[in-house]
């Protein structure tokens, strides 16, 4: 132990402050799990003074710092000398994120740990036995409980107050997603419930879809460029299928993760292994996590904060496909505070607030639609109309209005076709266009009130075309109205829900007009003429299938080929 504690005081730069305390200045290394700093301090100083220096250097408050040396916590009143802290030695630092700075000293039973709050819940008492019993951690009950029980019950449970944010407080879509994600993470039963939902299973069993979703995320693309192994993994259908099996079966997933854990700890113990792990973590996992975070709006493994804790890093998580939050669900619950029976469902308060939010925050719309799963969800919906109608029927928005449902069923195929149209999508993601559409709709509404005879109930039908939270295209059909001659169809006084054929025709026309958009009315066939020729030259003789593939991939030949090849063996 040949440490020399003598440093020449004359050499030190900030000798002024520290020298006032007398004694030699020593350099002490202060190490956190992420960081390392060398701090010059007088060897006679107290721990409190040392902490002062540290708080400046680490930009943290003094009472957040906990210092550990040689297995002991350094208390403010102690001196460095007392603990034998000398030049060149290392002190460990933990920066507490909560203001409770005191570490393991005498019995202070006041920490806000999750374990304590469960006792809070039981004392908060009377109210709702089921939520209290299902979870012993926080956030136990699924979101289905929340909308059903209005605010008064929720306020009684300290823990469940964050469920309040789900349907009540913030109706911000992104936040809802996050909430949902958090719920999912903490409640495995709900997780398995969602997994069992046929829609989800359908999506998950389609490896193409999964791959598309993953690849659509720009961060993933970056990641894949850097690490070709990942793209290899994604392109291997067997592996994909396996991982999706895993995702569907939580028990199997746990098994696999356990094995990974074991393998990792073995890895760690070989020399250099730890560093390799750390490298792997920072190279692969962090970008993956942030990619996942961006997609789902929340990092499911919270408090990750870039911690280089390689021994805990489980690359198995890279294959973890979390179930996608149901994009219809939360929007549905936001929009139905009360199911209005008014013919114009979209003037209901819920919908209004959603629309308002969307117009105020165009980014929201963009985010929502550009979320990769959205696109694929729409695609899968389009391909599978029964599921689409099922989803829409179950959407609480329409639950109370059977006429509306009828309407919807008619319009569904057209609507879905339209959704696939990339122009439609691009309009929807364009915030200014959205705003314009909103304005048009508002104008129409004013018109309706001012001159009811002019456009009776026309407004209803187009708006009905909007399921869930996508107030997109059909709004513009309202815009098409003024250009159509108003007396075109008989302005009967029957409510809009009636399937008047001429009205329907009107709608169709408007839809087409919208769908036509800026481009001339070219059918996909014409547009993809060139690609179709190429495909048939390559030997894909099924023109129909080629066309479908091209439409689905938006004209991308390579992707279309993959689709075609993928569909053949099955």
């Amino acid at each position: 132990m040949a440490e020399n504690s003598g440093t020449d005081p004359a050499v030190n730069t900030n000798a002024d402050e520290n020298a006032a305390k007398g004694g030699t200045i020593i350099m002490v290394t202060v190490k956190t799990p992420k960081d390392k700093e060398e701090i010059a301090i007088s060897e006679d100083s107290s721990v409190a003074q040392f902490k002062e220096e540290i708080s400046k250097r680490f930009k943290a408050k003094q009472d957040q710092l906990v210092l550990i040396f040689a297995g002991k916590i350094l208390k403010d009143g102690d001196t460095l000398n007392q603990h034998g802290i000398k030049d060149g030695l290392t002190v460990h630092l933990v920066i507490k994120t909560s203001p409770k700075a005191s570490g393991g000293s005498t019995s202070q039973a006041s920490a806000p740990s999750p374990g304590v709050s469960s006792s809070n819940r039981s004392t908060a008492g009377a109210g709702n036995p089921p939520p209290a019993s299902t979870a012993n951690q926080s956030q136990g009950t699924g979101p289905s409980a929340a909308p059903a029980q209005p605010g008064n019950l929720l306020s009684g449970f300290g823990d469940l107050s964050n469920l309040a944010g789900l349907g009540m407080g913030s109706s911000n879509f992104m936040e809802l997603q996050q909430q949902m994600q958090r719920q999912l993470m903490s409640n495995p039963e709900m997780l398995s419930q969602i997994m069992e939902n046929p829609l989800v299973q359908n999506m998950m069993s389609n490896p193409d879809l999964m791959r598309q979703m993953i690849m659509a995320n720009p961060q993933m693309q970056q990641l894949m460029e850097r690490n070709p192994e990942i793209s290899h993994m994604l392109n291997n259908p067997e592996l994909m299928r396996q991982t999706m099996e895993l995702a569907r079966n939580p028990a199997m997933m746990q098994e696999m993760m356990r094995n990974q854990d074991r393998a990792l700890s073995n890895l760690e113990s070989i020399p250099g292994g730890y560093n390799a792990l750390r490298r792997m973590y920072t190279d692969i996992q962090e970008p993956m996590f942030s990619a996942a975070r961006e997609q789902f709006g929340n990092n499911p493994f919270s408090a990750l904060g870039g911690s280089p804790d390689g021994s805990g890093a489980q690359p198995s998580r890279t294959e973890n496909r979390e179930p996608l939050p149901n994009p219809w669900g939360p929007t549905g619950s936001t929009a139905t505070t009360t199911t209005t029976t008014s013919t114009s469902i979209f003037n209901s308060p819920g919908m209004q607030s959603l629309m308002q939010q969307i117009s105020e925050n165009p980014q929201l719309m963009q985010n929502m639609l550009s979320a990769p799963y959205m696109r694929s969800m729409m695609q899968s919906l389009a391909q599978n109309p029964e599921i689409a109608s099922q989803v829409l029927m179950n959407n609480p928005l329409f639950a109370g209005n059977p006429q509306l449902q009828e309407q919807l069923r008619h319009q569904l195929p057209v609507f879905l076709q339209q959704m696939q149209n990339p122009e439609a999508l691009s309009v929807m993601t364009n915030p200014r266009a959205m705003q314009a559409l909103m304005q048009i709709q508002q104008g129409l509404q004013t018109l309706q009130t001012e001159a009811p005879g002019l456009m009776p109930k026309y407004i209803q039908m187009p708006m009905i075309l909007i399921p869930g939270g996508i107030p997109g295209a059909p709004l513009s059909t309202g815009g098409g109205l003024p250009s159509e001659t108003p007396p075109a169809s008989a302005p009967t006084s029957t409510p809009a829900a009636g399937a008047n054929p001429s009205q329907q025709q009107l709608i169709q026309q408007m839809l087409q007009m919208f769908a036509g958009g800026s481009q001339s009315t070219q059918t996909p066939e014409v547009r993809f003429q060139q690609q179709l020729e190429q495909l048939s030259a390559m030997g894909f003789i099924n023109r129909e299938a080629n066309l479908q593939a091209l439409i689905a991939t938006g004209g991308d030949i390579n992707a279309a080929i993959e689709r075609l090849l993928g569909s053949q063996p099955s």
């Binding site: 040689a70 297995g71 030695l89």
Partner: protein, 143 residues
């Protein structure tokens, strides 16, 4: 020259003392002599920083480690001072069950106090432990 099996006890412990003071390792565990005047280098103190993403996160667990006269041939005695709910640790007094911790159960004389502390920390990250409800922060075992 001493073969690996024959390193004198004090040699080893002094080395461990130095490592503890220099912060060898990843900074998630710390150890040192309980009493600097302890010439027998028997009683040690350890500290484990609760791993992130577990219920132990942000907490610091203090331990006592006792290296007997036959150390490093025999494993040390380890017990938690800070109350903890962890498989393998007695609820009443914080004593670590030797059979539950593989580093202790299959002790080798190349192991060290650091290895034991790190293994305990790893146990905190296991699925079966990472969500166990914990006693309020700051409580210690009194016996």
């Amino acid at each position: 020259s001493a073969a690996a099996a024959d390193v004198p006890r004090n040699f080893r412990l002094l080395e461990e003392l130095e490592e503890g003071q220099k912060g060898v390792g990843d900074g998630t565990v710390s150890w040192g002599l309980e009493d600097d005047e302890d010439m027998t280098l028997t009683r040690w103190r350890g500290m484990i920083i609760g791993p992130p993403r577990t219920i132990y996160e942000n907490r610091m667990y203090s331990l006592k480690v006792e290296c007997g006269p036959r150390y490093p041939e025999t494993p040390p005695f380890v017990r938690f001072v800070t109350k903890i709910n962890l498989n393998g640790v007695h609820n009443s007094n914080g004593v670590v069950d030797t059979r539950a911790v593989s580093a202790l159960a299959k002790w080798q004389n190349s192991y060290s106090i650091r290895v034991v502390l790190q293994e305990l920390r790893r146990l905190m990250m296991c699925k079966e432990n990472m969500k166990l409800p914990q006693p309020p922060e700051g409580q210690i075992y009194t016996n």
